[in-house]
Symmetry: C2
Subunit: 586 residues, 2 copies
């Protein structure tokens, strides 16, 4: 089994030192969320995740969900753990107190999301979509529906799903075939089949609230004719109690490479009663409220799994003895952590993980501002930055999750390939994250075509970074970092300019460059994060030399060793798409 210790010191370092968004600090309702409170929450969260949830990771892998006689059974121990999980209030962490939530900001709940991902992605997924459903209902449903459904979801007694995919449409939702016919009482009857529904059915909650995309006959073709419906597994009586079974049936669950403790369902809707959420034919944009926050959380999954992979390989590297390092003096076999190449591998993981956590913290502040600031203009501007960085966090973090879990296996050697150590499970569990909630390529296309081209939001982001560099102008210890970051920013700007230019008359050049652009923005965003970490660490060096010197050292590693990847991506993209479009693939 893997080990996991929640990196509370790392999280508190960010909370104490990098809550640097002025607008965030102005949010009235978060003024009491102080360091002591957050530390206390993280301590409790760590206890829960380390002791109760993390042991379930391997259990779920070895005893996958079972589908029998139309019913889905979760792995052994999941029921008991889920019951404690909701009793301790973890589903309600970031929800509105009006519906029973604790009203914590994203700056705090994102740390919790990371811990939960580190502990067990399969277990996490049972409650994760509930928060997605919560957000979707909160922002788009009418008061009656909110009052009826939200308290139970917040409490965790009911869970939620997102039902988008059908066998003929994953990325291209315009092809949806599920139909919704309006009834006299204003409700709808839904008929169709949805696939790949995470937590589509299970035995942990007394009801499951499906948020379903479907087409109302007679509406516009394609994505403009999609509406969003709330369809409960069991109908809910007017008094809020659980009533008769609705027309939703589970046909099967998928046999998957990983996240085996999480049921991925084929759901059949057969005249299932549903309620319109938001306006008819505007379902996609309502669903995107859910999707966007969900995409960030998927990125955090990649980060969380990478953290567990790193902790385990570090621990193994400190114990496993093999060979003699260059600096061996006693002629005894060395622990492999003394070998330069193993250290390089560990630092690659560490520098990416810590940079990502810091970027996620920056993004969490922006989300909190976008949702809670009193000034609409400020909210709007934060929302734009969130929309820019969301696909980066989703794709970049999950791709790095693949890279890091892969490196972790390598450090374990043969022991990484066998099941005992649990390392290979991290590689398999993580592998879904670049796929679901929109494949990473879809994210890259979204980034470039919707958020970079003909849009000022990238320039806004770059201005923030440039301002940061400028403010530190003259500090000799930061000179190296300012200089390299400046060069990277130039690459990013040139790349964006190239995209704008190509978009005018050679769109295929742009389409085939999206993935590279996303990577470049990812690496540069992490460099920006490391720049700020370095600045703070240099300022505080004497308070805790051990901790802050290590930060500056890791920043050096990141700037020297990881950031050069930017140039290869840029150069590769700039070569254009001629050979790509000419290929015949016979």
């Amino acid at each position: 089994m893997t080990i996991y210790n929640a990196p509370i010191d790392e999280m508190m370092f960010l909370f104490n030192n990098l809550k640097d968004n002025e607008n965030y600090n102005e949010i009235e309702k978060f003024k009491d969320i102080n360091s002591d409170l957050v530390k206390d929450i993280l301590d409790q969260a760590a206890k829960m995740n380390q002791e109760i949830i993390h042991p379930l990771a391997q259990v779920g892998d070895e005893n996958p969900c079972v589908y029998e006689n139309g019913i889905v059974r979760s792995p052994p121990g999941y029921k008991e753990a889920y019951s404690k999980f909701i009793n301790d209030g973890w589903t309600s962490l970031s929800c509105d107190p009006k519906y029973g939530g604790q009203g914590m900001p994203k700056t705090v709940s994102t740390f919790f999301e990371e811990m939960l991902s580190s502990a067990s992605l399969s277990f996490k997924l049972y409650s994760e979509l509930s928060i997605g459903a919560y957000n979707c209902i909160l922002h788009h449903a009418n008061e009656k529906i909110k009052d009826k459904f939200l308290p139970k979801i917040v409490e965790g007694k009911w869970s939620g799903t997102m039902c988008l995919t059908e066998s003929q449409c994953g990325t291209d939702l315009g092809l949806i075939k599920t139909k919704a016919s309006k009834q006299k009482d204003g409700s709808f009857l839904l008929t169709g089949q949805k696939i790949f529904i995470t937590s589509g059915d299970h035995d942990l909650t007394e009801n499951i609230i499906h948020l379903v995309l479907a087409k109302v006959p007679g509406g516009p073709a394609g994505t403009k004719g999609i509406s969003l419906f709330l369809v409960p597994k069991f109908n809910v009586n007017d008094d809020g109690s659980v009533g008769t079974k609705n027309g939703v049936n589970t046909l099967s669950i998928e046999s998957k490479m990983g996240i085996k403790g999480s049921p991925t369902c084929v759901l059949n809707f057969d005249n299932a009663k549903g309620f319109l959420i938001g306006e008819e034919n505007k379902g996609l944009s309502s669903m995107f409220t859910m999707m966007n926050l969900e995409r960030i959380i998927v990125g955090i999954q990649g980060l969380g799994i990478a953290e567990t992979a790193y902790q385990n390989s570090l621990s193994y590297a400190k114990e496993r003895k093999q060979g003699k390092s260059n600096n061996n003096k006693n002629n005894q076999t060395d622990e492999i952590i003394k070998h330069a190449d193993i250290r390089r591998s560990l630092l690659s993981m560490k520098s990416i993980i810590e940079g990502q956590r810091s970027l996620a913290f920056w993004l969490s502040q922006q989300i909190d501002v976008s949702l809670n600031h009193s000034n609409e203009k400020i909210r709007k501007s934060a929302e734009e930055l969130v929309s820019l960085i969301t696909p980066v966090v989703k794709s970049f973090f999950t791709d790095m999750g693949t890279e890091i879990t892969n490196e972790a296996i390598q450090i374990f050697g043969g022991y990484g390939y066998t099941k005992d150590q649990g390392i290979e499970q991290l590689f398999r569990d993580n592998r879904i994250t670049p796929i679901y909630e929109g494949t990473n390529s879809v994210q890259a296309i979204d980034l470039v075509f919707r958020k970079v081209l003909n849009n000022k939001v990238l320039s806004n982001f770059i201005s923030i970074i440039k301002k940061e560099i400028k403010e530190e102008n003259g500090k000799p210890e930061l000179e190296k970092f300012s200089k390299i970051l400046g060069v990277s920013i130039n690459h990013l700007e040139e790349f964006a300019k190239w995209l704008e230019e190509k978009n005018k008359n050679k769109k295929d050049d742009v389409s085939s460059a999206c993935n590279d652009f996303l990577k470049v923005l990812g690496y540069v965003s992490l460099a920006y994060s490391w720049f700020k970490i370095t600045k703070v660490s240099l300022d505080r060096l004497n308070e805790n030399k051990n901790f802050y010197e290590e930060k500056v050292n890791t920043a050096n590693y990141y700037f020297d060793k990881i950031l050069p990847r930017v140039e290869a991506h840029y150069k590769s993209a700039k070569a254009g798409s001629d050979s790509i479009m000419k290929a015949k693939f016979n």
Copy 2:
């Protein structure tokens, strides 16, 4: 289930056009191995692999090997297939006719190795180590042992293993504890435990011949005191018949991430009777005969699995409809192969795979020269080139196998993560290849410290490439390729010079740069391969425009889009190891 069609056209293209090693063409005994014969062999091999072996890939994954009452059972159908496999003579393909082999050159058998890897790695592993054992016995054992053991191994009735690893030593074989005590009759009794023994026990052959590293008490410490022994599962009578059971027992088999149809065994040697192979205390170098050829084959495994992944994603991309491409004219949903980004992904796979196959073909010629040329100096020189490129093929091909199977999953989206399509199995099966036969980092260290530093072999290789470029000087269609390849060669030379320099006083810089150097050499070697493919294709363009234009196009892709990675690796490595060695990893 996956599809697989052996790429015979690609293989014949190489055999017909790139058998360009003059020394190879001088080898007397291969003069009759002509194009028709090879085509015939490949056709038969394709039939066997496609029809009999490939269907067993999924069977083995779903019905892993079973260990029960001390006995290992292979998956259903493996026995019957193996029986046909040896009856058709496939184990004997490259073996010496003296022992019943067919005496085919590596240029042919490597194609077969690739096909078998594409069809089912698990199935392949039952016979793969037999060839390793064959080579080791052939080169180091006395005539009596050769005559006794080789014919049965060549015939495939007996299989072979390599028993190196013990729980405390993988990479560092100096730590071996297995003991061998000399008996009066000249034989030895071996006692100890070996782990991770591929095909260590199974029910496909009537005997298993273990090649075991052990220490004779009183010998030198560390790797200098290791001897090599042949230890049969069943003792072999003087008449060659299988006799009593030897003291070798299977304690357990591993539960693994992939290659589940191949048993990975813990073997207990308890006074097992063995025979010294080669000289006492010189066992490691004898074992390396086996290891080196085996390492190349592991690289070929990565190539073979990548080919299957590519074929399946290509086929899926041609069928799956989703979204509209930039060039969509009819407003209908496009097959995803029309999307620029999907094409980019497919071309990345294709350009790497075809480049690798060509490099493997070049290497096969060198191996054939090193083993068979009449001139010792030429043999020696070829052997050096083989020793240089062996770690590259092992590590680079298997790492690319990870990259390519990963990309393939991504093209399948959600369907790539479920078990039905078989894509995720390729990702899991391939994942062992960067680990076994020496982890990829060990290969990189071997490459740099043994074959690049203080050694002229890299310069020899570079001279070959430079000569190739020079010969084509002036052909305008090749100008672009010459120029880019020239720049890459410069990077490679500078990098090597930097390593030499650093090795004098900053060894950690070298150690932490090995992986990057191996990657650079890998990418440059592939560029060299593509350069030669392009040259040939331009010459023959009018013979088959469809085929040769595609080659030139793919070369363009490789040079424009993949080769830029070289610079990032070089730059990252050159940044040195200060942050790496300073890190405290608290």
